[in-house]
Amino acid sequence: MSERRVELDVLRYNPETDRTPHFQRYSVTCREEWVVLDALNHVKETVDPTLAYRWSCHMAVCGSCGMMINGEPKLACKSFLRDYPGVIRVEPLAHFPVERDLVTVIDDFIAKLTRVKPYLIPKEAKPIEAGEYRQTPAQLKRYKQFTLCINCMLCYAACPEYGMIPKFMGPAAISLAHRWNQDSRDGGRAERQEEIAATEGVWECSFTGACSEVCPEHVDPAAALQRVKIKSTIDWYLAHTMPWLNK
């Protein structure tokens, strides 16, 4: 098993003592097949127990280990050391306030997620005896890709518009709203439109497309946002040119 001396430049910030963050260099011996998260764990176990970062699953499903690795938003548990030959620069996710070291404050995203009601709002309520809500494979495929989001916020760290306009609802929240709007069992679109068709909803998106490039689960949020724009535009023109349609 081959080993390698890995050098990590990690952004440190201690709210109790630091006024600004600074980089700290760690040098540890790592196995070639490790991911960046393994290297961080190794640092924490053998060199510096004060290093703070989030992780849980180590298999790209929990979405908690997002960080900037050499300037790109990445899941640390999915970023292999072998893909990073030189010194590896590790920073907290861009665009989010830093709580401590690599831990960010994510309240903003959680609040937005809540606002888009990312759960089934049944079209017609029915009693349990009436059985399950059925769906064809085609109806499932219509939204399946958008269910794969793991709320890792890499897309927010990649989105320049979110960086400039923190009120912007952002890629993942709108994609999840779109996921439920596309669901044949769901009837909640009108409620979600109040949030996502607002100015700070989808309309701050300039279709940079970076969200889709960095998404580790291939959700393609840019596609969802583009469709939300088109549908909201059609809604608007219908409502304003044919008012008899909205009873």
Binding site: A94, V98, I230
Partner: protein
């Protein structure tokens, strides 16, 4: 007893103008957006051409002459490059904007974008042919 935890979140500043130098994808994005400058300027030039056309044959001849100036040629070359980049990027994104689900499956992205590229080539040829450029 839990210790009091200090919270003093730190927000890192972003460069206000040159943020897009961070990664080539943002440079490509700005280049795509900048195509609007050339498309807009070119369209204003067409409006000027209509003005000259309305003013009569001499004025219009002057307009055609101005098109031959080195500055106009250079402007046209830039405008052509940027507007073609606009077309390429615009059509490349069409599968995201207008996915087509046939039965269960979605048409592959390449088919939708490819159809747009083919349509673009066809429209361009027809315009050039109708205008008697060949």
């Amino acid at each position: 007893m839990a210790e009091q935890v200090t919270r003093k979140p730190y927000l890192r500043e972003l460069p206000r103008t040159l943020w897009f130098l961070r990664h080539p994808r943002y440079v490509r994005y700005m280049a795509r957006e900048f195509s609007c400058f050339f498309i807009g300027a070119y369209t204003l030039m067409l409006v000027l051409g209509l003005k000259r056309l309305a003013e009569g044959p001499e004025a219009y001849a002057g307009f055609l002459e101005a098109l031959a100036s080195p500055g106009a040629i250079v402007f046209h070359l830039f405008a052509l490059a940027f507007s073609a980049y606009h077309s390429i990027t615009w059509f490349r994104l069409t599968p995201k904007a207008m996915p087509v689900q046939l039965g269960e499956n979605f048409l592959p992205d390449g088919v939708i974008a490819g159809a747009h590229y083919a349509g673009w080539a066809l429209v361009s040829l027809v315009v050039l042919w109708l205008a008697g450029a060949f």
